[in-house]
Amino acid sequence: MKRSIFYILLSLLCQIAFSQTIITGKVTKEQGEVLPGANVYLKGTYDGTSANENGQFIFKTAKTGQFDLQAEFMGYEPVSRKVELKGDTIRMNVQLKEAFNQLNAVIITAGTFEAGDKRQAITITPLDMVTTAGAKGDVYGALQSLPGTTTNGESGRLFVKGGDSEESQTYIDGSLVYVPYNPSAPNLSTRGRFNPFMFKGTIFSTGGYSAEYGQALSSVLLLNTNDMPAEDQFDLSFLSIGAEFAGTKLWKNGAITGSLTYNNLAPYMSITPQNYDWVKAPESKTGALSVRQKTGKTGMFKLYSSFENGGFTINQKNLDQGGSPFDYKLANDNYFMNASWNGQLGEKWAMTSAASFTNNKDDIRFNQTTVGKRIVGVHLKNVFSHPFTEKFTLKFGGELFAKTFSQNVQMPAEMHYNSFTNHTIAGFTEAQVYASSKFVTRIGARVEYSDYLKSVNLSPRLSAAYKVTGNSQFSLAYGWFYQNPLDDYLLYTNRINPERADHYTFSYQSSINKRTLRIELYYKDYKDLVKTNGVAFYLPSSYSNLGSGYAKGLDLFWRDNKTIKNGDYWISYSYLDTKRDYRNYPEKVIPTFASKHNLAVVYKHWFSGLRSLAGINFKYSSPRVYNDPNSPIFNGEKMLPYRSLDLSWSFLYRKNIIFYGAVTNVLGFKNEFGRRYASSPDSGGNYPSAAIEPGSNRFYVLACFITLTRKGDANQLDKIE
């Protein structure tokens, strides 16, 4: 008895002395799933605990009175509840709401390949541009291993989702690049003017893009240049086709980089078999300067300016004169300047200003004919964005595209000079609204006016994305897209209107743990395409907007960074069904640039023992069509399929020295891009022809990149680590 009294007294005493309150319950998400690891504690005290694997928590406290019970977990809004501690047991279940965070929220992926983001949803990165075998270090070459593109070996330019190459535009730091490609001989592949090392991020949109972008029917490629370099350095690049020297000097909050590049294919062409007869191999000299300056706390000013002079002479068969050869000589001068500033204006406003200037001159001579072409282009753009709340952002801005194109043709008996100047001014606005972190819509519109064509267009744009689970989402994009007709037509008429394409894109993307699957369905409705009646090119009445067409298809992309240790591969497949009636086409037919099936398989492997990144790449495009004027069927002929197996090897010899080697079409598949025909029939009534072959069956690159710094340990391909 005594003993039991003792225990009763003891427990009573415990209660009085400690007046312990037990707090217990469960932490769950709104949907009821438990949140193990959630932190539950009394605010302002050391009393608390973490939820166990079943989301349950229990802890004692000796405190009495009113307290706030705080429950929190990363990625969720913390919840605070008033509790009255008076020595009993408090049972309390807490529900946490997912915090809204734009970084983790759903993003619109329809039509878009984004790169350079530090997040996981990466589909392709700037490094891929350099290391993808077969890309030959060319930005556009690398993009041609993505779905939605068709490789046209006789062009090298981007052809996106049933669109012609002119329908794609390139922007650097927000402003338009009027002449993004190097000049090339007729029916020979070209490459981009810009070194992929210049860029830290790319967005490749193959349709349904933001109202911010106009004057592109098919795609926009947005390249963002590197920010501030890390230290003073000197870069030396030696390639089998040339050399580059670049120096970077830093100061407080700023840096300048100057570079000189000299390319000459003559030695390379003299030791590798070529399909064409080069009188003077392609040669170019480039000087470039880039400046970076931080302004204030958030601002960054970038300037890039380059001058390039290049040219070549190639000997080609003149099919109109019984196949007698003639020289085709091209000289090109290109000046390009690009400047941008972006930063915050006060707390809530962000502004981006961008400007570009292009002066491009082509001087072409062949067969007693000279053609001088000149493009002077200016692009000015200003965009403001203002987040009204975390979930609602408004963006608006305006831009001006000014362009003068002139062409001077001199033949022994005649001479033509034509030119036009157009100013297109545009205004756009776009609202991005998150209903939750799972659902976002973007609604925008764009108005454009061209003073040369006297046309006004309104383009609505709409896109939305819905996150089904943490890792997968659906996106939709819709919009009208306008683009001014080809310069070659505008030289002779302004009585035509911009061409139009309506995009409908539906896409599904799932990214789980370094594996990404993307499926995209699209339909494009082309309207108001320019047609020529073939009567006389110089008469305005020869041009009309009576053309039309469609493109529809399925794009698949699978990238797996996970399954194979140190290996990374992607498979891209595109199915394309397209027909159009434009230019000189007599009816709606498959255009010459479209392949029904396109496949690219890209594999990269990092051999750590060898400090090497090896790449292998296979591409296939089903046969395209071409037109034989000897045949009654327009575009009735089929060319060979395009096949190429490419290899590349990058070897990190020292921390600051890289060796690089690549071969395209190792297996020597025969690739041919149809035939070209004489402009008039011979005496027998036949149009003589010649096969269009690639410049060479294989292409070899050998290169060495050296970086010198004070510390001596940086390199240009550091990212390979």
Binding site: F18, E72, M74, K719
Partner: protein, 213 residues
């Protein structure tokens, strides 16, 4: 009997009054004591939660935040597969590190921790992040050593970085062994300012020295 009850009551009352005092040092000491018993992500998360709770009470103390970030960095290393989770842990660590730098901008330990944090970011995806984060990590550890050249944790992080890059470039990382051994002999000369100041790292260093044999 009465005596016993009385004496017990006295003990309890004194315990209560002790518990009502802000026992920052004691709680920190106890919580730090649990470091060695943590085995998995959940354990470290629970520990990080405690430091978070303490940091919430002691708004002027930097040590709870320091260990909070440290726990989340360790969690990112312990998470085996899910890269998104690793990044989400590091997002938490990043915030605490940023607060720390504002709180004590001249604390060598904080920059050593920041360097460690950058290494963790790098490890999530070395191919993509190698260049950027090895640079950032190097800068941070440089700051840590500038503030206190004797900080053994900063020296350890720098050593690990140097050995990793030597190995990568086919040089013998063992060329850094004398440096590692020297650091180990000097390790105990560095006296933390208090028992709850950072003192971790010796085990890792002993591991490195062991690998040298």
């Amino acid at each position: 009997m009465k005596k016993i009850i009385l004496s017990l009551a006295v003990v309890f009352v004194s315990l209560v009054s002790m518990a009502q005092k802000p026992e920052f040092f004691k709680t920190m000491g106890e919580t730090l004591g649990q470091f060695s018993t943590c085995k998995n992500v959940a354990d470290f998360q629970a520990l990080g939660n405690k430091f978070q709770m303490i940091a919430d009470v002691e708004k002027t103390e930097w040590l709870p935040l320091y260990y909070h970030a440290h726990c989340y960095i360790i969690m990112s290393f312990m998470e085996q597969t899910d890269a998104a989770k690793k990044d989400s842990y590091l997002d938490v660590a990043e915030k605490s590190v940023a607060k720390l730098i504002e709180m004590v901008p001249n604390e060598s330990e904080v920059f050593a921790l920041q360097s460690f944090y950058y290494v963790a970011r790098l490890v999530v995806n070395p191919a993509e992040r190698g260049q950027e984060f090895s640079g950032l990590s190097g800068q941070a550890v440089g700051k840590a050593l500038a503030l206190d050249p004797t900080n053994p944790r900063a020296q350890l992080i720098k050593l690990q970085g140097d050995m990793g890059s030597a190995q990568f470039f086919g040089k013998d990382p063992k060329s850094f062994c004398p440096q590692a051994k020297e650091l180990l002999t000097k390790w105990d000369n560095f006296k933390p300012k208090s028992p709850i100041h950072p003192s971790w790292g010796k085990d890792q260093l002993m591991g490195i020295v062991k690998g040298c044999q």
